[in-house]
Symmetry: D2
Subunit: 364 residues, 4 copies
């Protein structure tokens, strides 16, 4: 397995499996002088913690962040920040029955074929617990971005067919429901739907939307590291994500140039008349809100009977028992936000050498 690192300048290196001793992240390239405490990480980790509603696995995961390096007196020193979360409440016995089974929709078969060996306990490295590393890294990236004035609105846009169809109906002050869905009415309908699916031992998917406010013009490297290209990779690197769209996304394919182009004016600053583009032009931020959506598939672990094979190539029918989320979309919200923060910060660092004047400013 390669590339457990993400980011060229602000780099996170993720390690750990679901049922190993611990999971963690090493953050390399964090600038010195940032105030940082374990609580800053914990606030983010708590947003992805399970056991918080009936729509999430009732597993109790402590998920306490411990900072092992890179800090002195609650200030970053510029040295790599190692953060660890111990796997203290894992019941290995839950998984023994699936040691040789390739669960449909899971990475069991592909890991086994790729590596010739697979840590079957709780999904091993392909478990959703791997996102702890991303969220811990995202907590630090977000803190830096906040100091530069950049903030995020990230939420559930749809669950199954229940979606906030009109952007006008997004009320961020209504987000405090178990689905992180900023519209109480739609959230209520979606929750009813999830409960139905749970009764029939089924699971559901949905869409997460992320808006980044106050991004300076000029972020994104125009050829291969376009801001949208890097965000797309960041998002598809999250397990269960099946799609990504920027601004109008797929809807733009049925639009015309005359309606899809965002016209411009000037009123004490550049003004765009619309934001079909999602805040990027040619892969570079244009000063508008960055806006993208992420498609998340239904949780593959369901307790219905499914047909599959085992590692001896025998066919079997399995019921995946155990404690599983009927929907992972709400818990994915903070993961999406975290990966977006890391991606944006990394590209803001790249941009610091776009002009020779920037270099002269630092090295005057």
């Amino acid at each position: 397995m390669r590339n457990n690192s993400f980011g060229n300048n602000f780099t996170i290196t993720s390690w750990g499996e679901s049922h190993g001793k611990a999971l963690g992240v090493v953050i390399d390239g964090c600038p010195a002088g940032l105030s940082l405490r374990e609580e800053d990480i914990q606030v983010f980790l708590d947003r992805r913690k399970p056991g918080q509603s009936k729509f999430a696995t009732p597993r109790q995961e402590g998920d306490k962040a411990i900072i092992l390096s890179g800090i002195m007196g609650d200030v970053t020193t510029g040295c790599p920040i190692s953060i660890m979360v111990e796997n203290d409440n894992q019941r290995s016995r839950d998984y023994s029955n699936i040691a040789n089974v390739y669960r449909p929709g899971h990475a069991d078969y592909t890991y086994e074929e790729k590596f010739g060996i697979r840590d079957y306990r709780g999904g091993g490295r392909s478990s959703g617990r791997e996102t702890i590393a991303r969220v811990a890294g995202g907590a630090v990236a977000s803190k830096i971005l906040k100091e530069l004035g950049i903030t995020f609105s990230c939420y559930t846009r749809s669950i199954g067919k229940y979606n906030i169809a009109d952007p006008e109906d997004i009320y961020l002050d209504e987000i405090n429901n178990p689905l992180y869905m900023p519209n109480e009415r739609v959230a209520f309908q979606a929750m009813e739907y999830i409960e139905e699916c749970m009764k029939s031992n089924d699971s559901v998917g949905g869409i997460v939307e992320c808006v980044i406010h106050n991004v300076p013009v000029g972020i994104g490297e125009p050829a291969f590291n376009k801001l949208d290209a890097c965000l797309a990779k960041a998002m598809l690197s999250i397990g269960a994500v099946k799609g990504f769209e920027m601004g109008d996304g797929f809807k733009a394919t049925t639009s015309n140039g005359s309606t899809n182009n965002d016209e411009m004016s000037y009123r004490n600053g550049v003004i765009f008349h619309s934001n079909h583009a999602g805040g990027v032009l040619g892969g570079i931020s244009n000063g508008q809100d960055i806006l993208f959506r992420v498609a998340i598939k239904p949780t593959p672990s369901i307790s219905q009977s499914q047909h599959t094979i085992d590692s001896f190539n025998d066919e079997i029918d399995i019921n995946i028992t155990g404690r599983h989320d009927p929907v992972i979309v709400p818990r994915a919200v903070v993961v999406v936000e975290s990966m977006a923060a890391i991606t944006l910060l990394d590209l803001m660092m790249d941009n610091m050498t776009s002009k020779i004047d920037y270099m002269k400013e630092i090295y005057k």
Copy 2:
């Protein structure tokens, strides 16, 4: 500007602007021993060349590939392969009127802000001509993949609202129309629609779909360099691309686990009952066809009047005259295929160290 390179093992470095002396690519990491001639590159370049139908710009671009290094006697030597295409038929005068104008939907404004200077001639580096580098690189990657038994079907799936709705209606033997759309009937409707739009000086978008056949199980690095994550980045790095989806993609968000999971059987080999996943599980290829779709926005250059500003912050109305594609989807097909080929090959190289047994095989 950073990151004009793509790929960690098989790496293309792209350079050049629309109206400079030339554009080109340096391919680093191409294995020695591959038979390669300029014709192999030219076949790919000709697929993206303009001037081939009334739905593409009538500009005549010669686009002749010259191999400058890395080859001896039509065989790759393992040294970097430098390929150049001269910009021999560019009319700079077409663009003088837009030197200071920020065209809506284009990267003019963002380049100017990022770099403080912008090559306005023909879009400079943000021109579609930059894809010449990608297609030349893709031609080489595809040739290697073909030797390993891997092939591509890449085509236009929709233009505006005219799409091949049912996958059963995809007839690859009907692809030889100006839209590279594998269904004559839908292609005909789409062409009529494009002609209408052209009459009203407007442009259209569409969706490209790509299928990769015969990919071995095990390709993709499970954390950040998942096969689908790398493909997503590759696709969004192409200008005008606004969305990416793998397998069922966004449709999966309204599905359930019981229907979205691909069940498995064994008949002289592993068989999946469906391919909702698009051929990846946990970011790793599962032996099925790799299938993804790419959303392409309408060409931003239209000759309707549009409101915008110039570099002096004055508001103006512009008509973009000149020779522009009313739709770039058909020409994007080979770019999508090329970027997919480079991405897949690169990850197949990563995978060669996934097991210690592979190392023993090479270094026995």
Copy 3:
């Protein structure tokens, strides 16, 4: 601080400071299927552990390696291997007197200027304890190389002016002395010399030599990642290293082509008549022993009075008390070997795509 990672394919990420909670390494890209236990790491760590002779600091560092991830049933799974060593026996009070002092020969001043903040406890990140990460990573790399038949002879070649002048006088069976110097007689002289220096509160340097046996022909990427270039970086990245030479090294500058060239014959295999080159030609291994030397400066921490400044720009005279090595050369031997192992393994992975035939072998 950037680039706490080393290696492109087999990648170690090092983290931790001298007096933080712990230090560690994340190994990414280790192939699956390697038998690996904590004891394998410990054997290497014990070779660098202090307190083992009167020529090393009497500090007792437990330095117990804990593997936190990447292993199942003593076999690597291909997932990142996280290894941690807790800092259990650190006396912070020893260092309080130097919190604001820039010790001559140390990185105190440069860290402070670069980051605006500095973890002064025990040298912080610039402490020799950082090499724990390298040695743990090297233990794993060495184990893989051993399975491929590759072994190392790494030893002290000189201490101060006491060196094993003639390669013929290197007796590897005499290496088990406190200096890891493979000649009892010279080692005895060197130890007497060190004791003298200790009496005058001074320190000494020396040269480590490393020989790698049975490296296949073809390792090293000929332009910038030449085998010798990568080894040079690996070695100079170790604290206190001031020089590197390959084969005859600086001596070659006073030689002539007629004597420096290694002539060749064939006797059931390619035979070189000499090894002035140190086993590389054009940056690629030629099948001979890889041979290089590393210059290590005298330990900068001495308890003699030295003139320097503090962070208030006041001049002071300091005596660095505490427990310090009078010579770090013997403890550096395993660090040199470890970095060489990581470097070589990484390049052997690169080489696996040098020929298309290798790809066909894996993907047949």
Copy 4:
């Protein structure tokens, strides 16, 4: 072959062989706003051009730099800068007799084994002509550094045993001799020595020394990308280089802490009493001159008879005729300077995110 790119931020990608159509470099990451013309490149290329004295090959290589992209109106646009030099005066027939022969001291045998194929014409990719790419890249890096106040003194320190023993005897105003040796007397002796060697059909080596002035404190990333580590890799990546030392280098191994440490004072600024370290502490520049030396072996091409084998494993004796440099040290001076400039600039870019205050300065 991998890694024909060097630098993480300011990245050069080198391509081309001795007798192909052309050689060149793509410079990625050059900031926008730098005044740059082909003459700036040419000045550097002319310093490495052969045929300028009787101590260099009488081959006439035009080596005219053509800038193909990345510039508008003599100013860099931030886009990749592609520079090409055509191979217009190559006589392929000179080399036909060595197509199957493994020349001693050359990379013929190792290329053949690594790639299974080898461009034997003029050494192919392993030719010294590959350094054209480095020097063109170095010209641009040097221009940027100059704008930041940083300058270089790079010269021949020794030829064979003829060296400027005492640094006090280095007179930079005496450098304009064919050896670029800043001491007329020693240069004269060295030239006599080279002429002797030429008479006996032999070649000689030597040492290049490089001093970089006015480097700010804080450059270099302390773990693996130490300034000295990166310089070491840069230097050993140049063909024929066999050793590297920083400051006192190998001499430091026979020194003591009390003499090797550079003591500090404060007089309107930090003052070091000596520069044994060569301007780095803990891998970070300390504000003193950066000083290092590079060992270059005797040219392997000599017209004496040498014993070797061919690709059929037959033993033969060969005389390498043709036009070869009896010593490459003088022509290597500009290559050393160029690689040093690229390395330093790249690390200065890394350093721009060392403190959060720098980010606030750019994004205020």
